[in-house]
Symmetry: C2
Subunit: 535 residues, 2 copies
């Protein structure tokens, strides 16, 4: 017997109608390349999204065609987030930090028919253009002028009318968007998000145990919109009616704190490196900024030392909340909040809880696997995290060779080594490829890094495996010392002694000026290995 409920598809036009009719007056603020501020609202974004969809129809874009975006975070990118999918096409966000060759590979594999490019990124685009077969290039420009052969976003929209836009029938399982993984290992792989996955993700990400977004909030997504849907925040903000502030290309700590102060931001999100440098900016300029409006900052992409969580909380009354996800999980998989019985724990213990990646959001399920067995949820045993749920990828775009990333019973193998506690709280211990296998045991490079970064003289630390005749692998620590501070390898060893098992302590420390980073700001351990071991 079937239920007798409406066959109402979970498609992005429903979210857009809501943004327009219920939250049309909510502000959307963008910082333009010239550092000036652009102000519009969700009503205008919705109308213009329909214009964009109509403009693409006129350009011959039809059902399932891919439309790339090479853009910073701004209102036009938000219009693309809605306008491309509601026309039945597929939004393909391009990571502007990739090399021209990588970008060309991705554009060609996805067969993007149209690409929307920021004027400020035309220099990036010029190197890609000769390598790809895109039919139309649309430029987001503040002036009338765009290079010959390209179309002006504003001119195209001016020729359209939201009232005459005819929306095609959308199926909830059809693709709404695509994003390529930014893994350092191997060729990046395409993930195709369905309308259904994004709608469900938006609902789950808006819950109190996820982004906990209110209509009265003001959200600053620092995480780029080219990086897994900016963690879903643009859609969640549009659904909840929160004000949105887009930083544009201005991601330096000073610009971010200016944006927070001026627009009274309450919620933000980004990778740890951003918040490490923002903390520095705040600490070095006491009294210059007002960040008192900020309730929460969501952290993802890599683990965060508990000490940073404590610093934000004690010095600026800002709560950092850890979340975990991947390109393959749309991305929110887990979020870390204290449980009802942990609010009275001592501060240090609370920080330890918070430094974990947290519990899965509703409808996401997790398990940890080692040697084909489920590892017990005891908070200690480590295994590779596997995940499933309605917004988790079941395969990669045109990559049957990557079928081994999925278990025989259909879970996604994440490549993260985790432990899970009895209440389902997940802690990332390491990446599979970064784990140090020493004498049959596993050493977590992440735990070692966090223990090292808890030293007052250490700015950053990255730990990699060094081949070892006796133990197979042993850890090597690359350490960046804070300016005007000094520390020796011996002092670091003494610092680690009470914090980790004795056999975890690296025998080798390398003091470096910086840790190389990937295009999304994570430690690039492949590059670090080259730098320290191959040299």
């Amino acid at each position: 017997m079937d239920g007798l409920m409406m066959d109402f598809p979970l498609t992005l036009d429903a979210l857009l109608r809501r943004a327009e009719t219920i939250h049309g007056g909510r502000e959307v603020v963008s910082r333009l390349p010239d550092r000036s501020w652009h102000r519009t609202d969700l009503g205008s974004v919705a109308a213009r999204s329909k214009c964009l969809a109509q403009a693409l129809q006129k350009l011959g874009v039809t059902d399932g065609d891919r439309v790339g975006t090479l853009c910073w975070n701004h209102f036009r990118h938000l219009e693309a987030y809605f306008g491309i999918p509601i026309g039945g096409a597929v939004l393909h966000t391009l990571n502007l930090r990739l090399s021209p060759q990588e970008l060309a590979h991705i554009i060609n594999e996805a067969a993007d028919k149209v690409v929307i490019v920021d004027e400020s990124l035309l220099s990036v685009w010029e190197a890609v253009r000769p390598l790809v077969a895109v039919e139309h290039v649309i430029v987001c420009a503040e002036t009338d002028q765009v290079p010959p052969g390209m179309l002006n976003y504003e001119t195209l929209l001016a020729e359209c009318d939201p009232a005459t836009f005819v929306q095609p029938a959308l199926r909830e399982k059809q693709a709404a968007s695509m994003c390529y993984t930014s893994g350092t290992a191997g060729k990046s792989k395409g993930v195709a998000y369905s309308h259904r996955a994004i709608c469900l993700h938006t609902l789950a990400a808006g819950l109190t145990s996820s982004f906990e977004l209110y209509e009265r909030d003001c959200v600053l997504p620092v995480v780029p919109m080219f990086h897994v849907n900016a963690w879903g925040l643009p859609y969640v903000a549009a659904m909840c009616g929160a004000k949105i502030v887009f930083p544009g290309p201005h991601l330096d700590p000073q610009s971010l704190v200016e944006a927070i102060t001026q627009e009274q931001v309450t919620v933000s999100a980004g990778v740890p490196t951003v918040w490490i440098s923002v903390l520095k900016e705040l600490d070095q300029n006491p009294g210059r900024y007002d960040v008192s409006t900020v309730r929460k900052i969501f952290i993802g992409g890599s683990a965060l030392p508990g000490s940073l969580i404590e610093s934000y909380e004690s010095r600026h009354d800002i709560r950092l909340v850890h979340a975990w996800g991947m390109t393959e999980t749309t991305p929110i998989g887990t979020v870390s909040y204290l449980r009802h019985d942990q609010h009275d724990d001592p501060p240090t213990q609370q920080s330890e809880h918070r430094a974990r990646q947290g519990t899965p959001v509703p409808f996401v399920e997790i398990r940890a696997i080692r040697e084909e067995q489920q590892v017990p949820w005891d908070g200690r045993s480590m295994g590779e995290l596997e995940v499933r749920g309605p917004w988790v990828a079941e395969s990669y775009y045109q990559r049957p060779d990557a079928a081994d990333r999925f278990s025989p019973d259909g879970w996604l193998r994440t490549g993260d080594i985790v432990s899970i506690d009895p209440r389902g709280v997940m802690k990332i211990e390491d990446r599979v490829k970064d784990l140090i296998k020493s004498g049959g045991e596993w050493i977590s490079s992440v735990d070692l890094e966090n223990a090292l970064m808890a030293h007052e003289a250490v700015e950053e630390a990255a730990v990699i495996a060094v081949p070892d005749e006796k133990w197979v692998e042993r850890p090597l620590a690359a350490v960046v010392v804070k300016s005007n501070q000094a520390v020796t390898a011996e002092q670091l060893r003494e610092h680690l002694l009470p914090r980790v098992a004795k056999w975890w302590i690296p025998e080798r420390f390398e003091f470096v000026s910086a840790i190389p980073r990937t295009s999304v700001g994570k430690f690039n351990k492949v590059a670090l290995r080259h730098q320290l071991l191959d040299a």
Copy 2:
């Protein structure tokens, strides 16, 4: 092009797995008929739900079979909420306040194969039993004894093992539960909820703009579990991991306030009449109870005077939140919160905002129709509310004759007369059938009632239409005066004069000792008409 996301169905077993693995330790407290307290947790409820599913399988219940429940709010009813649907059967909650004939009609139309009955409701059941053809009757009893020919819930579960329960494959569109409307007009009609509808409703109802439920919350669902899934609260609480307190049959104000005080309830929900009497209990016994833990009380079923909202807020620091829904909408359709720019409005204006029914929750869409035209969203124009969304009924169970309750383009006609403001805030002006059509204009009986109840001497007021030769209809007000107070019709007329249009003022006032109520606690205007007009 389809998305490449997992085909993960939205079925209730996913919510149950979450409750068990992530929130297994969260308390589920029930007040038993003898007023003692029963304490268990979500882990046990989950295990026993699987036992119930297995027990039903043993009794021959298979895919799509209906299993009725004639139960108060308690942990076993929660087990039925999960156990029946995860076995592929359909939970059919029975309104224990209906007459034996009405219950028999509903049970027979739904063809319930098994019915689960509370021991304390066996007297109700005895009158129904001869009228229905149910195969098995299971009794929720605290003792080993059950009447001959009936099965004992606990004995059945003791013979089952959650580890050996084999869950059938569930489709998200299959029916999970059924509930009959309790309309006073015409035969009640069956609504069949799909797993998908309930799962989506649970996600949307958990949002900050809906029930805003946290893991640290303690929820007291006063709204009966036989009444539209207790507004979804049991599922939302299980998903969020909130503690649940079930009042059992003890719904008198004193018992409710005892439960709130003892269990430190933070969130509750029920119809206005409950909260009117709870307020009385609190006001008459200053200092006896501690309700300081309560953050929010959700109100639905009928409109609430702004004065009551103010009284709770000013005297007890408790926020009443208006929600609107129907059996046909699973039920949450709209919830009333202040917008970001209304928090600084004067208190009276804030109460007026709050007394509206609010904005639709995500994925629910509303419109108001008068004479087949959409009424403008100006906050004044009235029309019949129509609604659509993934948890809105598209038809009634075996009732093709009720097809006129749906518009030609597939919206549900709610029978509520509403106005909608420019930001989508909906206000119920009346029921279609209660509206007073005076001289071609509409008079809202609800507005008149609220204006009357704002008078300090008025406990309750209900307004009905009286046939009128000149105006077609004119309003009649039935008024219950507070004990130890007095008021005249002339004084009420003077009280109304500055509050409503002059031509709205009833020429006839009837002072009565009580307003008759329906089985779910709403004003029964059909009975009132009989009482006052036919007499």
